[in-house]
């Protein structure tokens, strides 16, 4: 009796063998999940690899055609203003595409930044909670409209409207001329496309700017109110400066979207590469060029085929730098408080 153990030996709920199996299953699942998470890195790598390798071939071919060095080809690419890789004589001045990209982007930001910021301040500081609850989902819906539908809107609604407005303004200033003497806005123009890109970007800018304002701790607001400031004074003199980095991040990320926007400009701004900063003209942006070249059913390995990758690599790096800048700036403002 005495040498019997005090308590019966506890059997582990799982036998050792099953436990070993469980450990292995865990490991396998863990590594599968890791592979899934790492796939994002793989995607980025493949994007960079494809863009670089095809662009390298593009430059090799250009050097062959022009009998010049890589430095000269790169110089032509980055400093000249004629872009016609598809027709002889081949010219590869990317500024013909960048000028249109910049022009539509500037117009878009002139629309999106003021309206986005004011709307965000209103939503964050002035709107009653109920109004905000209703408005925010509607703004989200606006961001979900397919861009080809926006392109349709720019070409068939906004541009005709602009044509009428421009004509009316001219008639107001110089009445009595013959109808054909007035300037007529062309059907493809960067103004209409840029405005619609701006309208498309408003919800993004508004919601990111609102997040930046909401992130400001309320004691800053309370301090300002305690000094007798109104909500508007608080918003403009206390909250805006405090949220500067967040707002800048919102603008940069919104602009990155405008730079990368494709269908609106491809439908409404025209597909002809042209070096111009005049918004009343039509011109192809970088993205619109890629679309128009792809429409021609590119033969694999031709110079045309590689030219869209050369245009794409520009686009990728511009938007990449903007996204990274936006990411780090917005990360910083979160850490301040």
């Amino acid at each position: 009796m005495a040498d019997q153990p005090l308590a019966p030996r506890i059997e582990l709920p799982i036998p050792a063998k099953a436990r070993q199996k469980r450990i292995w299953v865990e490991r396998i699942i863990g590594s599968l999940l890791f592979v899934a998470a790492f796939s994002s890195v793989a995607i980025t790598t493949v994007i960079i690899y494809i863009l670089f390798s095809e662009t390298a071939v593009f430059f090799e071919k250009v050097i062959e055609i022009h009998h010049e060095s890589l430095v000269a080809a790169l110089a032509e690419f980055l400093t000249t203003t004629e872009w016609s890789p598809l027709i002889e004589p081949v010219t590869i001045g990317v500024w013909a595409l960048l000028s249109a990209t910049i022009t539509t982007c500037v117009i878009a930001s002139l629309v999106a930044i003021p309206f986005g910021t004011i709307g965000a301040i209103y939503l964050s500081e002035f709107a009653p909670a109920k109004v905000r609850e209703i408005l925010k989902p509607i703004l989200e819906l606006l961001a979900a409209v397919p861009t080809v539908v926006y392109g349709y809107f720019a070409l068939l609604f906004v541009t005709p409207l602009l044509q009428k407005i421009i004509l009316a303004v001219q008639k107001w200033y110089e009445p009595g001329k013959e109808p054909w003497e007035y300037y007529e806005l062309p059907g493809f123009n960067m103004l209409g496309a840029g405005i619609v890109v701006g309208l498309m970007v408003i919800p993004y800018v508004m919601s990111m700017a609102e997040d930046a304002l909401q992130a400001i701790p309320s004691h800053l607001r309370e301090g300002s109110y305690a000094m007798g400031a109104t909500r508007l004074q608080t918003a403009l003199r206390v909250l805006l400066p405090a949220a500067t980095s967040g707002l800048i991040a919102a603008y940069i990320l919104g602009l990155a979207r405008a730079v990368g926007e494709t269908m609106i400009v491809a439908v409404a701004a025209g597909l002809q590469p042209k070096f111009t900063f005049n918004p009343l003209e039509g011109a192809a942006t970088t993205t619109a060029f890629i679309v128009s070249a792809s429409l021609g059913d590119l033969p694999h390995g031709s110079l045309e085929y590689q030219s869209i990758f050369a245009a794409g690599i520009m686009l990728f790096f511009v938007t990449f730098l903007m996204n990274v800048a936006g990411y780090f700036i917005s990360r910083r403002y979160r850490e301040v408080y």
Binding site: V148, T262, A266
Partner: protein
């Protein structure tokens, strides 16, 4: 300043002036939001005015045609459906798995930071770049051709960041106590996830998937790049068959067109008759994307209300 404070009339005047500015600003704020909303109203109104008259059964059941009165969207919506199917099958498991890893497994180190920055960056890469990736990689390196499979995978990569972020947020919202409870009764990490974390975060994940799907439905640029813009008058091979083995995967390799591309094709034609078709296709596209999105917003609202930890 001090002088002013001693004078109640001056204070009252100052308050009045500032209140007026504030009212003006509220007007400006409402105006900014109205601009955004007005865009939506004008957009929908213009599409309805032009396109609604030809939205009938025939429009849905006819293939595209050189005659605008005969043209329909049969091949486009079937194509969209099949492409989205591939997108969901590829993107959802990959995205959810990545989200689970990043929230539940990943050690806090530079690698996690690196992956995180990568995903943020991928979310901001212009969609047409994904088209170039697909053209160079899927079409020419893997030799999948300009097929439904290529298109589905391209859109899957495009919406992957959306699903990953939604999964992470849904998982992060689950209180730590649930996990500790599961571990306390001897569950392994994967058992905890499969039996508790995943079911509880299903609402949030579903919302993310729906938002991603609506984005994929409306996406045009990357599919133009891989060469989807073809005049397609035939349907892909049917996925379900009458005879054994009942399912067929030949449709994966079929050329295709999708709704946004059909619309783009019609918009960019000079003849005005085709613009009516474009408007009608636009209505279908808007009903699909906005409807799907509204569903996501409703789901999020409901799940936020119903779950009380």
């Amino acid at each position: 300043m001090i002088d002013m404070l001693r004078n109640p009339l001056a204070i009252r005047a100052s308050v009045k002036a500032r209140t007026r500015w504030e009212k003006f600003f509220i007007f400006l704020g409402l105006f900014s939001i109205a601009i955004a909303l007005l865009t939506l109203v004008l957009l929908v109104g213009d599409l309805l005015l032009r396109g609604a008259p030809i939205l009938n059964w025939k429009f849905f059941t006819s293939p595209p045609s050189g005659d605008p009165a005969e043209a329909g969207i049969l091949t486009a919506w079937v194509g969209s459906l099949l492409v989205i199917l591939v997108t969901i099958v590829v993107a959802v498991p990959l995205g959810v798995a990545a989200g689970i890893y990043l929230e539940e497994y990943a050690p806090k180190n530079w690698l996690l930071d690196f992956i995180e920055i990568n995903i943020t960056n991928l979310a901001g890469v212009p969609s047409i770049i994904y088209g170039l990736l697909a053209l160079g990689f899927f079409v020419y390196i893997l030799k999948w051709g300009e097929s439904i499979l290529t298109a589905g995978c391209t859109l899957a990569l495009l919406i992957l960041p959306v699903i990953i972020v939604a999964t992470r947020e849904a998982i992060r919202a689950i209180p730590q106590g649930i996990r500790e409870g599961a571990y306390a009764v001897g569950a392994t990490r994967w058992q905890t996830i499969a039996d508790h974390i995943l079911p509880y975060s299903m609402g949030g994940i579903l919302t993310g998937v729906i938002v991603g799907v609506s984005r994929a439905l409306g996406e045009t640029a990357p599919l133009v790049t891989i060469g989807a813009l073809t005049f397609i008058t035939f349907l892909p091979d049917a996925p379900l068959k009458g005879e054994f083995p009942y399912v067929s995967f030949k449709w994966l390799w079929s050329p295709f067109t999708v709704l946004p591309i059909q619309m783009f094709n019609w918009v960019s034609r000079p003849q005005e008759e085709f613009q009516v078709n474009a408007a009608a296709a636009g209505i279908v596209l808007l009903v699909l994307t906005l409807g799907v999105n509204a569903m996501a917003i409703y789901l999020r609202y409901r799940f936020r209300k119903s779950i009380k930890w």
